[in-house]
Symmetry: C4
Subunit: 194 residues, 4 copies
């Protein structure tokens, strides 16, 4: 079984998640710019989650690029990742409507943590399929980003009830260092191709 | 006519069904974790239906993999399956919001039953197209899962008004034995390829 | 420019239209089967529109199959068709919630009429691109279905304020004779291939 | 990395944006045509935005057609464009529900302006990847449409608080001159192919 359909399905789900998230940005009743002001935190949380989903789509893309054979385990590891990503609109909406207060900020971290674990599991299941000469394993190397992110999410969850702004700062920080596309895979593929 | 577009369309519909289901998980008004508590049954019913739709997508995938020619009958058998799957979010939401009470639990079984019948009809229409040497027919063999599931759904529907928890237990059980991907088709394809 | 992306985009839009239509089927507050009763007309109108969109997807599929070259005019004729189809969920919901009353039944016909005109325009624009030996032109032949449908829609619209049930009967009738897949194109392609 | 998946993802997102926009057209409670009257501005704003998203999809299509290599920068420039397009349903709904009043009309222009800047950035990032012999650069030539549009959007935003109808006229005008498909790219490709 090829990987085309798993890519197409994942693209579809991520595209829908990223787009229905905008439905939380409900049309206000007033017709002045002042009527938009209460939407500011909802808009900011939308922008943050848009970036996170963009990062997941981007890295998912590079990861599957190295994957030649899709087994049942890879399929379910992928669905498991999509499950946690599908909860992002809910927690984004809750966080935005409550002005980034403590509990929603902590839950946001929990969902990001679960998604990062699910991503790691998917990565491992692809590496297992590829066997000892796994291209993906070489590509990710020490995988410091993948290892550091869950630690930072746990820190952000722990600190949310003390200061939710430090939590938010951590979420922005993690997004920023993932924004740099995963050149490790690109480089490994390039070396292999030459 | 090839099968690419029927795959793409089915993927799109299933991806949307799986994702709009999460819209039933409405953002609560409170900002504490206590505000999330009433959502627990909605979340659980969402998780169950996510697994069911994942199973359908997964098996649909393997089934179409064996199908070389798509006729009008296959197209409509496929749309018939998608029709019943499209009602899953509705019945999931009804079940979740009513804490798995009797009537919603029974209706959930009815929709699963109709979907399993529609799946069987689609399977038969592909076997007919493939003719006497049908690869799919060989692959499914005795098809005990496909035959047992409707029987268990009927049992769950019947028992819902006596104890909805037994019904739910049956739904979880059926999901569990389908979670094991359909290795029959994988194996038959592998044998044929060797 | 190939036709793959126009197919993918149309599939996406039709898949979403067909699926968001189910959102009109709002989860009732009661937990008994009696609470479902008021949803019956909404469910019936959903089923009717599901069939119509399935027919459009099916025939759109066959039509584009004959199309080798996509021009700007074909692209816009296609978007024009998608525009009218995107209004189907709205008019379906209005019709279902008002128990198939006169004005919603008439509007339903208007949208179907506009979609059938848009389909005809798309068909013509593909025939023009294909030139004098147009495969699609041969395939549709006299195109009695395409010519009869708008006439029947106009009849259904006119009669809606006198008896909405005759209108609904006409909509069901037109759906039924389209349900037979467009074998003309299949046959012409088969003849050409032999 | 090929461009197939970036095309598929963009198609998915644009297809969803174009379709969820119709959800703002809420089913009215009355069952007469009079009940539809208040929806007229919502319908008109929907039609305008449908055309704009159609234009973006169409031109995006032609632009990516010239792009052979997708880098991380192109991916993110594309996501940036999709971010602004994803806000179109919100601002369309706000404009429609407030009868094209001043602030919503201005915000509509701001979103179109941001989208046009994002489109220009995506175009530039593709040209950079293609290097000195960029096919896209030749194809767009002077790019008068791309340069004039932002200027007209700024004019429409400025004038909205004085007369929102002039703003709307400008939005319709810009849509009209983009409706003519981007034949420059088609022509350049044709010349190159001959």
């Amino acid at each position: 079984m090829g990987k085309n359909r798993i890519e197409a399905f994942s693209d579809g789900v991520i595209a829908i998640i990223i787009t229905i998230m905008v439905l939380e940005l409900k049309v206000p009743h007033g017709e002045t710019f002042q009527a938009l002001a209460p939407l500011t935190p909802v808009f900011l949380s939308y922008a943050l989650s848009f970036v996170y989903l963009g990062i997941y789509w981007n890295n998912h893309h590079h990861m599957l690029h190295t994957c030649k054979k899709v087994t049942g385990q890879v399929l379910w590891a992928n669905l498991h990742l999509l499950f946690w990503l599908s909860l992002v609109p809910f927690t984004t909406g809750w966080m935005g409507e409550n002005h980034f207060s403590a509990a929603p900020s902590a839950l946001y971290g929990v969902i990001l943590l679960m998604a990062s674990i699910a991503y790691w599991l998917l990565q491992q299941s692809i590496i297992v399929v590829q066997g000892p000469d796994s291209l993906l394993k070489k590509a990710i190397g020490g995988d410091w980003k993948g290892k550091l992110s869950p630690v930072l999410y746990i820190a952000a969850i722990s600190v949310a009830f003390w200061s939710q702004w430090i939590s938010q700062g951590i979420y922005v920080l993690v997004a920023l260092f993932w924004l740099i596309p995963d050149r490790r895979i690109e480089r490994t593929l390039a070396v292999k191709g030459s």
